[in-house]
Symmetry: C2
Subunit: 343 residues, 2 copies
């Protein structure tokens, strides 16, 4: 993506936030990750004392790979869940609501999109083709999906959002995400394939065959955009564009689980300079997710054994980032509280 | 404590909550720890669909062990922080406020208590004696401190609180807490002693000598109440009483770091049946904290490298418990959302 110009973190804001942290009413370093998250948010926003203004994006798409029976759920669930996201009542939307995050739902190629009067971002994208037999996306679809993600980031920034959590929905989408993880990390399909929503042993064996076949067909490509086109999907490409867009707009991007992190990792492969704006929200038990976190050298905020996707883990991490921002903003200094420092 | 009758978790509420979880709009088990926390809260409250009503208690006391120069901060800081807790602006109080927890501050034997018009629970307790030369507390002081904790739990329950997070403040108090951890776990002082608020190498060597001396003097006792009296302190005994009180009142108790967990572990040593109501909020880098979590076989909710105490880690864990309760309460079922289940 030639015209993405990632914004570096604001070093002056980080220095000012660091100076403030040194005066807050606690031994230096004693809030651990909360202190690092406060500095990250300062660097992301350019403000020495930032408040979190979060947005959860849930991008949904269907996948030709679902034909291979690699998911425990039927394809119709993607469209049904799209409706549920708009109605509220899903894990990700309940958590987003609890942490005060705005919500945006994107149809990035759902096979049976629901009739809905909710605020749905539409793209005109179709479900991806079966990556075991050919490229998942046509070049114009990839471009449109990435453009959609970047556009969402731009309008989010205009509304005052400063951190975007990237969630997704798409029956069978751990299969393309695992292919991308294998392509990025060089890991072996046998060890990277997990059970996703909970497939049985036979399903897992099928999934491994599909991932091997896809890598046999597409694994030789060297350009990350081309790899994403061949082994990705609509929602993965939208989230990739969203991570790129967050970086070019001066926002932060919080990864959810395997699929969301694969999308961010592809964005990093395209534009390595975006990495400082990418945060790992949590660690899921999917083996390919751990491989991607290692590949990106990211330490997840939460390790709660969550493996749902739909933005649920990223939204939960927003709760911790909010505490980091609250302590950084609202704690007294030693001077203000008239408390003695170290002897 | 002869008359504590711990209430077991409510098995019927757990079964009903479990049944609800099985119908919520997600693959079974996919919310990981959030699901387990929702069931725990159901068992604690006896309600199949509970809401979290949290209280953060910060108990503060001074310690004769501070004479041994085992802390990086002067003793006056304990009383100054007591005033700061009441004013707000400390890490634990900011986080408590962010998660909607009520706050209660207890003077459990502060050397120089501040003049304050805040809502302070007073006890008339004095600072503990230096445990390197004799027992830390006189028998009546231990009894009064435990009674105070139990009384706070009883009145919290009467106000509708269902989970209490236990925080503390007391210059030098990682030293008695490490002694108690060594007594409970049989661990060696050399490996259990950490740097607390950030002492240097010489301070750490002094701390190890004090812990060895205290264990030489008191380590032979077999009764946990007597061990707590000899090697504890006012705030540790109040938190021990609070954990016992939470169990007898049918509430949950969330441990903070080393000191708070040592207090809960002493309560468990006195009354093993309280353990199901005790939750580990987080893991601090203090080695004795890890030893206590292993001893209690508790898996912490958060691992953020926090080592401040003052209830900050326990309060942060309340944010995750609140998300567990919110998803459990507010998510739709597959039926309500008209989404298909597994094929």
């Amino acid at each position: 993506v030639d015209d993405v110009v990632p914004r570096p973190l604001d070093a002056a804001a980080i220095a000012a936030a660091s100076e403030r942290q040194a005066h807050l009413l606690k031994p230096p370093g004693s809030l651990g990750r909360l202190e690092k998250l406060a500095l990250w948010l300062a660097g992301v926003t350019g403000e020495p004392r930032p408040a979190l203004q979060p947005l959860l994006v849930i991008a949904a798409a269907d996948h030709g790979a679902a034909d291979e029976a690699v998911s425990a759920y039927p394809q119709a669930v993607t469209g049904q869940m799209l409706r549920a996201f708009l109605a509220g009542g899903t894990a990700g939307t309940v958590i987003a609501d609890a942490v005060g995050a705005e919500l945006l739902v994107v149809d990035a190629g759902v096979a049976s999109p629901p009739a809905t009067d909710g605020a749905l971002v539409t793209t005109g994208l179709c479900p991806s083709a079966n990556l075991a037999y050919g490229p998942a996306l046509e070049p114009p679809a990839l471009e449109e999906a990435i453009r959609t993600g970047r556009r969402i980031a731009a309008s989010a920034r205009a509304r005052g959002v400063n951190v975007i959590a990237g969630g997704e929905m798409g029956i069978a989408n751990t299969t393309p995400a695992t292919c991308l993880a294998a392509w990025l990390t060089g890991g072996h399909p046998e060890s990277l394939c997990g059970r996703g929503t909970g497939i049985d042993d036979a399903g897992l064996a099928r999934k491994r065959r599909v991932v091997r076949a896809a890598l046999g067909l597409h694994g030789h490509v060297e350009d990350p955009g081309e790899a994403l086109r061949r082994m990705g999907g609509g929602e993965i490409a939208v989230l990739c564009g969203l991570a790129l867009g967050a970086a070019e707009q001066g926002l932060g991007f919080v990864c959810d689980g395997l699929i969301s992190t694969a999308a961010a990792a592809m964005a990093v492969a395209m534009e390595p300079a975006i990495l400082p704006r990418v945060l790992a929200g949590h660690r899921s038990p999917e083996p390919a997710h751990g491989a991607l976190l290692d590949h990106l050298e990211l330490e997840p905020v939460l390790e709660l054994g969550m493996r749902l996707g739909e933005g649920s883990g990223a939204a939960a991490a927003l709760a911790v980032i909010a505490l980091a921002a609250a302590t950084h903003r609202e704690m007294s200094t030693f001077e203000e509280a008239a408390v003695a420092g170290p002897t």
